[in-house]
Symmetry: C2
Subunit: 316 residues, 2 copies
Amino acid sequence: MKLVAGIDLGGTNTRVALVDEQGSITHQLQVPTHQYPVPNDLVQTISKWLRTGSLPPHAQLVGVGIGAPNGNYFTGTIDFAPNLKWPGSVPLAQMFADQLGVPVVLTNDAKAAALGEMHWGAAKHLKDFIFITLGTGLGCAIVANGQLIYGHDGLAGELGHITIFDNSDRVCGCGRKGCLETYASATGLVTTYRKALAAQAKDLQSEAAFDAAYIYQKALQGDAIAKQAFRFTASVLGRGLAIAATLTSPEKIFLYGGLTRAGSLLLGETAQSFEENLLPVYRNKIQIRCSSLPEDHAGVLGAAALIRQHIQNQSV
Amino acid sequence: MKLVAGIDLGGTNTRVALVDEQGSITHQLQVPTHQYPVPNDLVQTISKWLRTGSLPPHAQLVGVGIGAPNGNYFTGTIDFAPNLKWPGSVPLAQMFADQLGVPVVLTNDAKAAALGEMHWGAAKHLKDFIFITLGTGLGCAIVANGQLIYGHDGLAGELGHITIFDNSDRVCGCGRKGCLETYASATGLVTTYRKALAAQAKDLQSEAAFDAAYIYQKALQGDAIAKQAFRFTASVLGRGLAIAATLTSPEKIFLYGGLTRAGSLLLGETAQSFEENLLPVYRNKIQIRCSSLPEDHAGVLGAAALIRQHIQNQSV
């Protein structure tokens, strides 16, 4: 049995899965990323697990795929990832290849998850779709003509960093102002809610620890400010998605990540704003859906799809 | 000798060229489009020319490519083109195929010109680039992974119709407000200049007939309002190009069409605004250039490239 390993490297946890040719996960490992301030220690831990103990009898590890924030497919490096606390550029693909002696391919987390949707999810028969991850930031992967768009430097798909409002006061992690992800992300939702509370002179101290999940609970309880924060977040998201759709005319757009747990609270307003902001000729043709992949598994399955595809291309 | 015909269908004129395998034009025809209120009459005129008189001895017409406003590659139709005065959907590819008995392929004018740049121009070795036409409107074709992006319905690349300003009062031909092409096009330049004159309470009557070429002449003569109108047009264009580049990360962006005759008056400010609006990681990596194809020939050469590519794909 030929297995691949899919690694989903996140700021908090790193998940590793051994995946067979049908996309079934045979074994899993989870390690806390932040306990590895030196990337090589994480590589050693995972490699050791992959070499010993995890492989069933008669099984062979034939490759490793990695999805990581700021991962670059062309160079196999993670470059200046603000959520990882590893400084500079980390040649992670090469580090794993040196340890394991099998092909290793790396890409960014949104692109990996899109590949997962394409190989083992609801995008199986789609040639043109967009995959959006809504977490701390907004990640995006664009598939056109059945292929991921990497661009000339591997960095295509940064929809989160288009300027969505003139004269915005929201400073983005990239150093500019008014980027889409300062509105349409878990962080953006929290900012919107916080601003709305402040505008009503509410006591922020008492709600100091809130996050997107808290705002969702408040909204479910009928809190007007929380509901309005969701509506505004969704309307800005819809506007951003309309821009992406105008450029690449996808058949579907998939949303993925923590914020999508809000379900219709997010989706309904997003779809409405999306349609309003579209060129008439595109209207009522493009579906916005939640990803069909389980939230815990999309990353590892996508990374596994990435290396499967690589091995297949090499053998042609 | 196997020749293809490239047809560049425009609102004012339609150009037809017979093109050999090296991209050389052997014969040309130009007819005034607006003198053909019924599309079939234009098809008859061009088909007659292609059948008789135009082909050299021992030459064979093996296919026809067409670039046209609102042309749809997937359906071979021109759909509701505001500049053509032909109502509804016109099945132009089928009409030519019926007349000539050879394969006919049609696409929109910007996509055809991009193919011309890719086959016979400065994009020959590029896998990722964007091609922009600046005329009455703003046309756009995106090439990624060496292929044109059509999207699921053939309508990808409508960069001219992304909303570029909040609360804009500029009404677009598509029925919405604030679209990029209401600013970054010959029409947009004229609007900007006209608004600036009005703001200074200048007499609009005396300058009633101005167009983009007139404003360019005024700018060359040092007219401050004309120069400022160009700067503003270019800065909005740069902002729009930055959005497109953020999504597809091209190696180069080519500008084409009447407005590019303004040369550095347009290019300099466009490039500066482009860089300012880019995510830092993309800066100083993406070149903005004028198309290398002669303005009169890009359309027919692009249409010829389209049919050559089609014939090649069929024979694989």
